[in-house]
Amino acid sequence: MNNNELQNLIGSWFPNQEANKVVETVPETEEGAEIKVPETVNPSLLSFSEEGSQFLNIAVKKEQLHDLMKRLKENPETNFDYLFCLTGMDWGKELGIVYHLESTKYRHQLVVRVNTDNRENPNFDTVCDIWKTAEFHEREVFDFFGIKFNNHPNLKYLFLTEGWEGYPLRKDYVDEVNMVIK
């Protein structure tokens, strides 16, 4: 499937009941730039974008994350069975996760992103019941960003020693002894 077909199909799974108008503007997550959703797309709770990326990007609210991921994997037309990259992100105000997905059957690729502005206690639903590789990668994100994953079977530090203070890959992490800032 090409990106447009994917967008139409996935968008139809999560119709937005409240939106009456077809056209709406959605904020692009990381840059704050605004893009227009093409008129052919159903009003959806998801927002799609291809700007600044070689993949089709879907921004999803964290409540729908697990539901969306499960459908992406199990729907025979999308069949995203390979989670090839799971990245923790610190966007400044928000923390987030970026999932890179590929279908080994159709070889189409997709990026799903989810953000939260809760820096004190960020948490998302785990996807390691969908893709087993997520277990270790989510633990890595937990180490370095302090993002918790609900229902994760073994959420503890993977790389860091127990009792480590702070989350090293966050932008506001300070370590005056070990970090050389030029």
């Binding site: 390979y82 087993k132 790389f159 020693t161 090293p168």
Partner: protein, 379 residues
């Protein structure tokens, strides 16, 4: 009176309960090939659970990348999977070049691919030697290192280093190839073609070796995909995951080669895939070595590289599997975020799955077929 009383066999009390207990394997265990600690829960000699404890040599390369320029990042990637250093460098260079929409000369693409395949053979030579050693065949270690040494000599002459080569730069390669490069590579290909059958005679056909490998550590295709296995680990389970086939880069779209696939999914299948890959790499080198196009060995880039705002992803096939570089740029001279999707982390995450129910001795052999390089996991 006899000096010794005849010993009556003691009746064995079969009612005792076996107890699970817990031992450490590593961090300084010779079979873990680096500072990797495995927490084993065992019952007798049967493994109940394997839990890797990582992070002993974590250097936080991703954080260091955020303060470095794009040229500097290339050098850090050597230190991840040091046996695929050239391919790691290539991954970053390709990401930067794609972002700048920079078309590198054909000569660069071919040189990169040849050296990349030589790197793969060198890595597999080392793996083969160490793999034999792990199951008790010490000779393989010397055979593997003997042939790897020839490749390292070629690298030393052209790249100036034997292991962490730093030969790639954004826009091309650092120097042109050495005048001897072509001849020495050809000599190596000729030499190594007689050596792989020797490897097979020495180890592959060995009955003891076969018995330790066959049917051990089985990974199904579905699990391989779900665990994100890549490289020979995935292909040993019949999962077609060769990035060189599905997303070709550099000169790999100009050559013909077969993807090495085995369907058994056991340790022997992963072993055989790597042996087959050495043949395929030789074939790729042979197709390219006589046809290195004339031209520049690099295109000039700005001294300070600034990537356009956006996100870039590039995947390459290292000797261990799929390496992904995910770069987020905000338009400054440093990346906002760099993530390396290393093949090692995904491959070690499935160790528990395939080792449970086996013996400790099998764990050593199984781990050897995963071909783990710890700095690749602890980036």
């Amino acid at each position: 009176m006899p000096l010794r009383k005849k010993m009556e066999p003691k009746t064995v009390n079969n009612n005792f309960k076996s107890e699970e207990y817990f031992i450490n394997m590593g961090p300084q265990h010779p079979a873990t090939h680096g500072v990797l600690r495995l927490l084993l829960t065992i019952d007798g000699e049967i493994i109940k659970k394997v839990e890797p404890d990582l992070g002993y040599i974590h250097r936080s390369i991703e954080k260091m990348c955020e303060r470095d320029s794009y040229q500097q990042i290339v050098h850090l990637t050597d230190r991840m999977d040091y046996l695929s250093s050239h391919i790691n460098n290539e991954a970053v260079c390709l990401t930067v070049e794609n972002a700048l929409q920079l078309e590198v000369p054909e000569r660069v693409k071919v040189i990169r691919t040849i050296i990349g395949e030589l790197t793969r053979i060198a890595s597999h030579c080392l793996w083969w030697g160490v793999m034999g050693m792990d199951v008790g065949a010490l000779t393989t270690y010397f055979y593997g290192f003997r042939d790897r040494e020839m490749i390292n000599d070629i690298f030393e002459e052209t790249c100036g280093a034997r292991l962490t080569m730093n030969y790639n730069i954004p826009g091309g390669v650092m120097y042109d190839i050495h005048p001897n490069f072509i001849q020495r590579t050809k000599d190596f290909v000729k030499h190594f073609k007689t050596k792989i059958p020797e490897y097979d005679r020495l180890l592959t056909g060995n009955v003891i070796f076969q018995k330790r490998m066959k049917g051990v550590g089985i990974l199904s295709k579905e699990d391989a995909i779900s665990f994100g296995a890549s490289g020979p680990v995935g292909r040993g389970s019949g999962y077609s995951c060769d990035v060189r086939k599905h997303h070709p880069y550099s000169a790999l779209d100009k050559v013909t080669f077969n993807e090495s696939l085995k369907t058994a999914g056991d340790s022997l299948a992963r072993y055989e895939v790597r042996i087959m890959e050495m043949w395929e790499s030789l074939s790729i080198i042979e197709q390219l070595i006589d046809n290195i196009p004339e031209g520049d060995y690099k295109v000039a880039t700005n001294a300070v590289i600034k990537l356009p705002k956006g996100e870039y992803y590039q995947k390459v096939e290292t000797a261990r599997g799929e390496l992904g570089v995910y770069m987020v740029s905000t338009g400054t001279k440093n990346p906002y975020r760099v993530k390396f999707r290393s093949p090692g982390l995904s491959n070690i995450s499935l160790l528990n799955h395939i080792a449970v129910g086996g013996k400790i001795g099998d764990l050593v052999a199984t781990m050897a077929t995963l071909d783990i390089v710890v700095p690749d996991i602890d980036r």
